[in-house]
Symmetry: none
Subunit: 215 residues, 4 copies
């Protein structure tokens, strides 16, 4: 049942001549299909056809379709959490770490747009058991980012009239929704959009000198 337990080790990988074990081909095919058509609209039949395995093989490696989706997301999330932790644990001033963290989210989002799209579209379809497991990990990531914001507030470089929670959700939401409107080939590259988002985010964080507008 545990994802980690079913990961093929490097040793196991070497046993098979064909690069791309059945399990890997399943994950690759599912990621691609889930991203393109959505989790709900992709049948197990289509996944096994694309991965060139049989249904039995899929159910040998994954207990259910949900577990497959969960696996994809958890691998992604684990990587992203690791990167954030390294930034947060650095010893640069907090404003620099905040800026770096924001940039990193933008970059990681750009690199894994497909997988993240899957998740954004499909997370709510999961049954409670799988949903809970990923929610906990997602929460851990959120808290890591939120702590950084809070540290900025304590250092006086981030405004305190907006809660760290709201700040974190806002930035992460804005990033997580880019898939709904960003189109490659448009007037702005993703990198440019990313930098503007960071600028907007960071710009919005400074303590207001006074009421921003007459109210």
């Amino acid at each position: 049942m545990s994802v980690a337990a079913t990961e093929p080790t490097a040793g196991a990988g070497r046993r098979r001549a064909a690069r791309g074990s059945a399990r890997q081909r399943i994950v690759a095919a599912a990621t691609e299909l889930f991203a393109r058509r959505g989790y709900g609209a992709t049948s197990v039949q289509e996944i096994v056809a694309a991965a060139e395995v049989t249904k039995g093989a899929l159910y040998h490696w994954f207990g259910s379709k949900s577990e497959l989706l969960t696996s994809i997301y958890r691998e992604l999330l684990a990587e992203q959490t690791q990167r954030l932790r390294e930034i947060a644990d650095g010893d640069a001033p907090v404003e620099e770490r905040l800026h770096a963290a924001a940039l990193d989210v933008v970059e990681h989002t750009a690199e894994h747009l497909a997988e993240l799209t899957v998740w954004a579209k499909s997370a709510h379809l999961l049954d409670d058991e799988h949903a809970e497991a990923t929610r906990r990990e997602r929460r851990r990531y959120h808290d890591l980012f939120c702590d950084l914001v809070r540290e900025g507030q304590q250092s006086g470089v981030v405004r305190t009239d907006v809660s760290a929670t709201v700040i974190t959700h806002t930035f992460l939401s804005a990033l997580g929704n880019t898939h709904t409107w960003f189109r490659p080939g448009g007037p702005l590259s993703f990198a440019e959009v990313g930098h503007q988002l960071v600028a907007l985010f960071v710009g919005g964080l400074r303590a207001p000198a006074g009421p921003p507008y007459r109210t």
Copy 2:
């Protein structure tokens, strides 16, 4: 085929003794179920059971399950667009109109959290025909907001180093995603969260005096 054409008029409504025509009961039941369980996870059977009508009646009023979802969203969007237009067309200074528009989005979002949740979760499941129709209307709303931001940029009250498009998407995304994290009964009321979001948004808009952080 046209949604508007099948709306019961006030006159037609009066003909029926029962308040709550079949059509209205269907819309109410569908909205509630779609919001709670998602569009894909709600069967037509469940909707008609909740609305206490037959399947035939549902398909008399709506050509398909998709059309029902589309109807719900379009009615909502039309109302929101109308409200925004009134604010944008006012003769207050642009910074006030921007602030008012942001507040209005927050308020409308709060009032219709359920319906908007439906849309956020399910829009991507629609077939092309229905998706296109609503995308056009959604786009009109977005443009209205974006024009206001652009007007602010021309007046010098909104920073110009971030494009109006990115600003608009960011704010609307942040608002449109609150359903994923906001839980009534938590430490902050939705009104408080809303005001913080507006502050963050408006605060992020001011032209930067200099580089916000050493980079």
Copy 3:
């Protein structure tokens, strides 16, 4: 229930200003749709849409969809029977009357290919009550033709080693099946095909001089 009883009389027809009463438009639309798509694949909804009447109007004039199909066919059959009776009752020699009857079937088939196609495709779908009624009339037509063949056999101009029944069915089947293979615009016109069919039919009727082939 009786078709004759619901026929609009000439008098009734004159009462309406619009040429094309509701009933007539229904018959016309149904004939066209049944011929093109088949009876089973044509919904009552489509018929009323094409005829520009409401469902209620259709069910005012026709007790059911079956009755509508039956009506169309009976009108056609009555006309064809009448024509055959006139030929059969003539006082020309039997071989001439046979030839004329065959030609007439060909011509009538050509004129009403659409309606006859309807019948060929859909007769077997009717419920017993309607099927029985038309079968009786169809039988009367068949008998009329068969009697002519039998008369030819008694006069010695038609072979007697094949029963009149088989002869009649064969010719009528061949004609009734032309819709499956004849395509307007092909190498042969329907008139040419018709003449060849008559020649083949008539040629096959002569008493064989001896065994046609060594057996």
Copy 4:
């Protein structure tokens, strides 16, 4: 997708204890029901009930109800084509081969009246894809027969004032329509009817010595 590809091989058949695999039971049940009630009037539910399998099993073997109908017909047609080819390729005189071919059609029709009835009643209900596939095979059969007729015309034993195409269609139509009027237990056995049809057909083919009737 391909019918042939899903045929259980002899080897596969032996693996299962029960004679009559699921696939075979489905085909048998469908043939019987389609023939008796027509394709359109037979539900998938009824087929699986008669075959004592589940719907899932049916859709495992056949992609759709249409494909099931198509399969039944194609197997039949393939067999009939094979038989005709053997007759046509023989080295008897052409008149004998024509006679034998006609007899063979009659016999095969008698043996498979049920299946052929299915096809006659239901072919026009198929979607384009399936219709096209069988039309091509049907066409091949027709051409085979037609070539034989044409060979007879070139040898001078078949009249040339009627095109081979018309001759072929006429005979095959007459045979293919026997299901509409032949009732077992009537005055004539099917064998007798068959011989009369062959006699009529063959008799109609001889070159006319002169005008058969005064015209």
